[in-house]
Symmetry: C2
Subunit: 188 residues, 2 copies
DNA sequence: AGCCATCTGTTGAAAATTCAACATCTTATA
DNA sequence: TATAAGATGTTGAATTTTCAACAGATGGCT
């Protein structure tokens, strides 16, 4: 992709996040963003329809980034401790952003988008193992998705109340009964 | 000025400084700069002839910025404590950069450029007070310029060994005998 | 010495961004 | 209520930046 596009989108998103932490969503104007990012106001409209589209795409980006850390490279969604650790390490790195998106300012959208994404991923995983259908159904998917997101949300909202090792090991323990059946490899 | 120009020059200069601290001047390639700043290589050549021109303009920029802090707004070069404090506060803010430019990597160019600039400013100051010619001549100019730069260089190279208040007050004390005659206001 | 990889500058066409100017819409304030 | 100030989107022409490709220079390695 054209480097200019990379850079301006990055700049817009980054200052959008900054302003989100500073003033909250409703007080942000497109002018603010353009001015602080040192970008022409019109250029913002070249990439995003408006504030809401910006928030939407922002959330989408961070959901995607989070999901990319769920697979340990090459769409390998094997449920091993490493995969979980990668996720939580990434959450820790961008902690303030995810804290923001999960609490006040994401307005709940973030949680929903993440939920959908994980649900989708799980469904895909299961579809590769049709023999599991007897054991795994929609109920299972929602149970696991909710459980995982609940842990994730708790860990972020409470400002990382325990070490990464602890959460991941505990998660592995909780998922142990399902792990064997869930292992799968997706190749598009 | 076109915002794109501002941004790319800023990006180039900033990563140039970073690389200067990391590898030193000779190991820097235009590729390095372009790649790290996420800018097309050709764009660098649109603004600078080569590495050397880049170093040259970089030094020029920082000399200018430093000089802008010598005047307390509107070309008022009155020699008061505030002016000095502004200079040293600015030096403190961008300490690592000036440390870099004054020591190894500026290769002495920075000192020379700063010397010329201060000498020029002093000459201008005196030319506005022709009645001072009896007391102030070239010898005075070089004496004062060298003295001031000496203090500045010592303060930076030794990592700010004393508080700003102390240097500036001491400087005011040392310059006291000349202060009265030196006061001047330049209006272009 | 020869070779390979990398860096250097330069080019022209394509694409992104800027700027200034619009009309319309909010919103605070006298 | 009227008015002024600022925000929103949109437009077209001007400008900058990108990209891909070039030829030549440099420097390390066998």
């Amino acid at each position: 992709m054209d480097r200019r596009i990379q850079r301006t989108r990055q700049a817009i998103m980054s200052t959008f996040i900054d302003l989100l932490t500073e003033k909250g969503f409703e007080k942000i104007t497109i002018n603010d963003i353009a001015e602080r990012a040192n970008i022409n106001r019109g250029t913002v409209y070249l990439h995003y329809d408006d504030k809401f589209d910006l928030l939407d795409k922002c959330i989408g980006d961070y959901v995607d980034q989070l999901l990319n850390h769920c697979s340990n490279g090459n769409n390998d969604f094997t449920l091993n401790p490493n995969a979980f650790e990668h996720v939580f390490e990434y959450l820790e790195k961008d902690f303030s952003i995810y804290h923001l998106l999960l609490s006040n300012e994401g307005v709940g959208f973030f949680r929903n988008r993440l939920y959908e994404a994980i649900e989708e991923t799980l469904s895909q995983l299961l579809s590769f193992r049709p023999e599991n259908n007897a054991f795994f159904n929609d109920t299972t998917i929602h149970f696991l998705t909710s459980g995982f997101i609940g842990v994730l949300e708790w860990w972020i909202s409470n400002s990382m109340p325990c070490a990464i090792k602890e959460v991941t090991e505990q998660l592995m323990f909780l998922l142990e009964p399902y792990t064997n059946q869930l292992v799968a490899q997706i190749n598009n």
